[in-house]
Assembly symmetry: C2
């Protein structure tokens, strides 16, 4: 009845499947691998309480007043310093804009870059929040398959040739939903393939700090792609998601246009939260804090992988993440993951069926498992029950 | 060079003129009437500090974790209770979604309602944040003139007949930029004119609580327009703008679609801020706090109005606000307000020229003055210097 008023763009936008699933999983008897929540251990609660009192005393009214669209200088400077230290990136605060979580970064980039009908290259499968965000702006998604070592190079070449995408969106580290990390070799090959294309490259990296298996940080794809590179980061997985603070690093001209888009979207991000996180970061050892998170996630990931090795039938495949929050399970071809979902719920285990991560979800036999919100013995029990459900298919 | 990547929609979106002006006014020698900042007296700093420590102790990790897109239940319930008490509105929490400031409310409504080319009715002059927000979605703005008592009814009728707008955006109380409040009679006439039109009506009311002159609250236009009415509110002018918390009240079907749009835009608003404001509101007397703000703004507004009466040439007109934060000055026809701006800056006074508040800013002889951020004697001095500048034209 009221529907006639709705725009075409919003009618095409999928509402989040996961949020529907989370309603099912609110039953406390259910072991849920469906969420994507960081473990509360990653919130430095005591330190944040000290910081909030300190900023209230130190800055007074400023932490409650309107502020600048670009974001708090001291927070942007922290980001600049960290990317300089880790990556030797040649940036200043003018290359950084604070966003209301990484999700807003996606929305703003969509607003500024994606014209109706523009082709957008995404991984297959990709992050569902991106699929929602650019859908609003009329993106035509085109895909390149993900393998265990990263993007499938032949598939990438074909897609580039056929569709000439304007922009690509990739999550090279501990990808959501698959947990896959692109190898250094894969990144180099991708760079060779795309370096002469007229295509912008967004690398979203919410989990990059959470490498819990040995090995070095792997450099981004084409850090010298210059003005065509756009980096996204977030404090959600290493400090707190509740503050909704992420950021975009890009060339100054693009940042300036993103500022206009952000003015129209929410004027600026919560300034209290920016003072709070900035104070926390400048007065504590972030790396030490991250070590604690990584230690826990490693234990949990290992518990899940070894339970899957023990209980799953041998024709079920799964990824072995080296960081981040997810693993990705592939059933035998022809199996219906929605049927598995029903069987699993009967056994009081929940997960996210693969559908929302695909542009065209047909014959889906994949699922995402999150391991950051249950202890090792609960994970073991849940995987055992999930294995029983798989055997019923 | 990079410009070729930008979307048509963002190239058409004006960046905020005011933010450019605010850069000029950062010189501390300048008396600025250009801003739109609430006075810091409106931030209950002591009480908020108590609340932040209380929520940290009471809710622990919850105040830092991901949360629901619709917003915190206790905050939505507070809004429901207040609108029931004041307006006897028949709503539940399902009619309310929390937004990242009112600016996001505008962005989300644009996403969900405004198709490319749809006519949108706005006041002449209108709030520049709305003009930015819907521009992104291809709005075709059409206007109805503002008189001292509200919308010009004949102009409204003509515009409705000619353009059949899909949605109207009005600020009936203490309008930004003019300070004008629609009379009860004017509201009734508007309702008679629009009640059979197939048009949604957004009433944005950030200043409604700030009536400092005697008189009752005036009901919204057509509170019985039912599903076509959309109400916007905000905590920015009565508690703190820095938290970026506003809300939309509308029919459930629309709220549900706004939820999808908000998922794609920023997942949810800062949850720490929602707990904080909710705790503050449930543990303090908001009306008593608002009295303090109104008392100050009344003093400041009176200082500005009486100084204008004393110093301005008699051919200069201005509004006499009964609440809110702004007054609106109209120079003699043919005078150029940009020239006045230069003359005023020479005399160390700043204001916002009328341009950004018009859909088609031609021959602009109007300006907006804010009185909430200077004391009475500074206001007097500033108006005296502004009067000198006017006399130079």
């Amino acid at each position: 009845m009221f529907e006639k008023y709705f725009t075409e763009r919003i009618k095409k936008t999928p509402s989040s499947f996961i949020r529907e699933i989370l309603k099912v999983t609110q039953n406390p008897e259910i072991i849920s691998f469906a969420g994507g929540l960081p473990n509360p251990i990653s919130f430095p609660q005591e330190e944040l309480k000290i910081s909030m009192n300190r900023i209230a005393d130190k800055y007074g009214a400023k932490i409650y007043q309107y502020s600048t669209t670009m974001g708090l200088d001291s927070l942007r400077q922290f980001i600049v310093d960290r990317y300089k230290k880790i990556w030797n990136m040649d940036i200043t605060v003018d290359n950084v804009i604070i966003t209301t979580g990484s999700q807003q970064a996606l929305d703003l980039i969509g607003k500024v870059i994606v014209n109706e009908g523009d082709s957008v290259l995404v991984e297959k499968p990709s992050y569902l929040g991106l699929l929602q965000a650019f859908c609003v702006y009329g993106a035509n998604y085109v895909t390149a398959k993900l393998n265990d070592d990263g993007l499938d190079i032949e598939d990438l070449k074909n897609t580039l040739k056929t569709y000439k995408p304007k922009i690509a969106y990739l999550i090279p580290n501990f990808q959501n939903p698959t947990g896959i990390t692109y190898t250094l070799e894969n990144r180099k090959k991708i760079f060779d393939v795309i370096k002469d294309e007229d295509m912008l490259l967004v690398q979203d990296d919410p989990y990059g700090e959470l490498r819990f298996e040995e090995g070095e940080r792997i450099p981004y794809i084409g850090m010298n792609l210059s003005e065509k590179n756009i980096y996204l980061g977030s404090f959600s997985k290493i400090v707190t998601p509740g503050m909704r603070l992420g950021y975009i690093i890009a060339n100054k001209e693009l940042i300036k246009m993103l500022e206009t888009a952000k003015q129209a979207a929410d004027l600026h991000s919560n300034i209290f939260g920016q003072y709070l996180i900035s104070d926390y970061l400048h007065n504590n050892d972030l790396d030490k804090h991250i070590e604690k998170i990584k230690h826990l996630y490693k234990t949990q990931a290992n518990a899940m992988v070894s339970a899957m090795e023990e209980y799953f039938p041998s024709n079920v495949k799964f990824t072995r993440p080296k960081g981040g929050m997810f693993t990705w399970v592939t059933l035998e071809e022809g199996k219906d993951v929605m049927k598995l979902f029903d069987e699993a719920i009967k056994r009081k285990v929940a997960f996210v069926p693969g559908h929302p991560f695909y542009v065209n979800p047909l014959n889906v036999n994949t699922l995402r498992l999150n391991y950051t919100n249950a202890d090792s013995s609960t994970i073991r029990t849940g995987i055992e029950h999930l294995a029983d459900a798989i055997k019923q298919l």
